[in-house]
């Protein structure tokens, strides 16, 4: 049983990376990856929000919305609204903490911190959890793994963008164009891990 949590974590972080395999959460991924420091901060925020919202959403889905839940009716059509509400409140919390703890990071992240609310990597985590019928433990593992995968992807992209900052990049590609190109090539590099099934090794 413990093994399967590790499997889900590894799978979510490396093999089915939310950014590089599903191309989710691209908006803040591309916009905040100019420097490693801010990318690092945003990555941590995404890990936190994913890891906290997913278990809460799991509880809501399982005990309020499903047919066996509190109301005894199938209310799953409400899941999108409720998931987003939970995510939004969590992001609000993160925003307050970041503003208090590190005002510099808060200013650097700017609008992209509240925008984690609509980061589709976060919502997709909750939706994957529903379609894949995870248990609570698996949900936590998936949340941590997915967040960690997003975190290493954005840090790696930021490091590469810092490295090529003074390169003689053709004018039309400068900035976001290169970010797109790098993301695509990173996806190619990550393809090597696709197809490994950690569960087969148990």
């Amino acid at each position: 049983m413990e093994g399967s949590f590790v499997n889900i974590f590894i799978k979510a972080a490396f093999i089915e990376n939310l950014v590089l395999m599903y191309f989710l959460g691209m908006c803040s991924y591309l916009a905040v990856s100019k420097s490693i420091k801010t990318a690092f901060g945003l990555g941590l925020a995404v890990i936190f929000v994913l890891a906290v919202t997913m278990p809460i959403n799991w509880l809501i889905h399982e005990h309020l919305l499903s047919e066996n839940g509190l109301f005894g009716r199938d209310l799953t059509f409400l899941k999108l609204i409720l998931f987003i509400a939970v995510i939004a409140s969590m992001v609000q919390l993160v925003e307050m903490v970041v503003e208090k703890v590190s005002p510099a990071l808060y200013n650097a992240l700017g609008i992209f911190l509240p925008l984690i609310t609509v980061n589709c990597a976060i919502l997709s985590g909750s939706l994957f959890m529903v379609t894949r019928e995870y248990t609570l433990g698996e949900t936590i593992a998936f949340g941590l793994g997915g967040g960690f995968g997003w975190f290493i992807a954005i840090v790696a992209l930021a490091a590469i963008r810092e490295k090529i900052r003074y390169s003689n990049v053709p004018a039309p590609l400068r900035g976001l164009g290169m970010a797109f190109l790098i993301t695509g090539l990173m996806g190619v590099a990550f393809l090597g891990l696709m197809g490994i099934d950690p569960a087969a090794l148990q």
Binding site: I152, I160, P170, L185, A189, G192, G195, I196
Partner: protein, 424 residues
Amino acid sequence: MALIDFFKKIEPDKEKSPLLHTAYDAFFTFAFTPNTVTPDGGTHIKDGMDLKRTMFYVVIALQLCFLFGTYNIGHQHFLALGVHESFLAGFHLKLAYGLVKLLPIFIVANVVGLGIEFWYASNRGHGVEEGFLVSGALIPLIMPPDVPLIWLAFSVAFAVILGKEAFGGTGMNVWNIALLSRVFIFFAYPTTISGDEVWVAGLTSTEAGAAVDYTWWQTGFFNGIFEAFGWSTFDPGLTVADGYTGATPLALAANGIPGTDLVGWEAVTSVYSESQMWWGTIPGSIGETCKPFIIVGAILLILTKIASWRIMLSMVIGAALAGMGMNALGLTPFMEVPWQYHFYMGSFFFAMAFMATDPVTASGTLTGKWIYGFFIGVIGMIIRVLNPAYPEGWMLAILLLNTFSATIDNYVLKANIKKRLQRA
């Protein structure tokens, strides 16, 4: 007249024909060192080692692989047909056959790559840089002998334009150019470029009785020459021998031999002996089979301080440790292959000597090099053994670590700064 006067005489006008001048400049700097040198009392440079010499040492280190690869294409071809089975039998036939296969690959890779390079250089107003010399020498060596030339051209163009020129040219790329072209052809044409049949050239199929597909070069050109000398000639009537599979050692180790209960290392040794695998008379990509010649090249690169021994050593350590870990787990026959034999199979040494050590895409810091090489070793073994989708792991492992080399460098530098601040 000195050679330099001749060169000055034929110099094209830079304004009128920039492309011609770029080409001229590229060859001029081959023949002569630039006349702008660091004056005495300025920055201290120990050696006049410039980009051109750096690149050329790598090309020299690759020459043995080229020679052996050319011959091995022919050798594998005739093994499949069941004639000239000893290594030196039919020497001229094997060499001629290898040349017919290798030269077009080499020419296409270099014409496409250098063409793009020259065009960019003249358009963006800088000299041609020598980066593609190495990529152009590496790309033919990592292709299967039967690679279709048009796809090769596409993959080289992809790698040079998107992998290098978009990043600002030589020395700025984040991913290894040769590996990008290989990975492109691997993912863009997956069904035809992997499997058992691409590794042996010139057969329509590896089924027993399948015909060879000789072209005019073999039956017309070379047969004409060989007949004139009274040597043996190419026989278009030959067919693939009974019982021949053409499977590479890695494929055998992963899948076993169908129809028998031989699996893992037993399946490999039932077809190939250890010395065959070590000396490289096995099917595979053109340049990666002969381990001793690759090691000679690696030693040359280490002696000239072009490649980093730290990366090579840590990569061996990483792969060995990963192999031992897999032996300890031992869940599939492939995982039970003794770890030391993993070095006999596949392209570990080629990737170690020429791909991972690429100074541009590897980590730059010394600590970073240890980390970088170690993880290539571990992840390469994981992809090779645990991932059923790919036969070999080094290409993808190196590309993956190329992605993270900038991150590794960044954190190694930060740790250094922290340590020194504490000391101060």
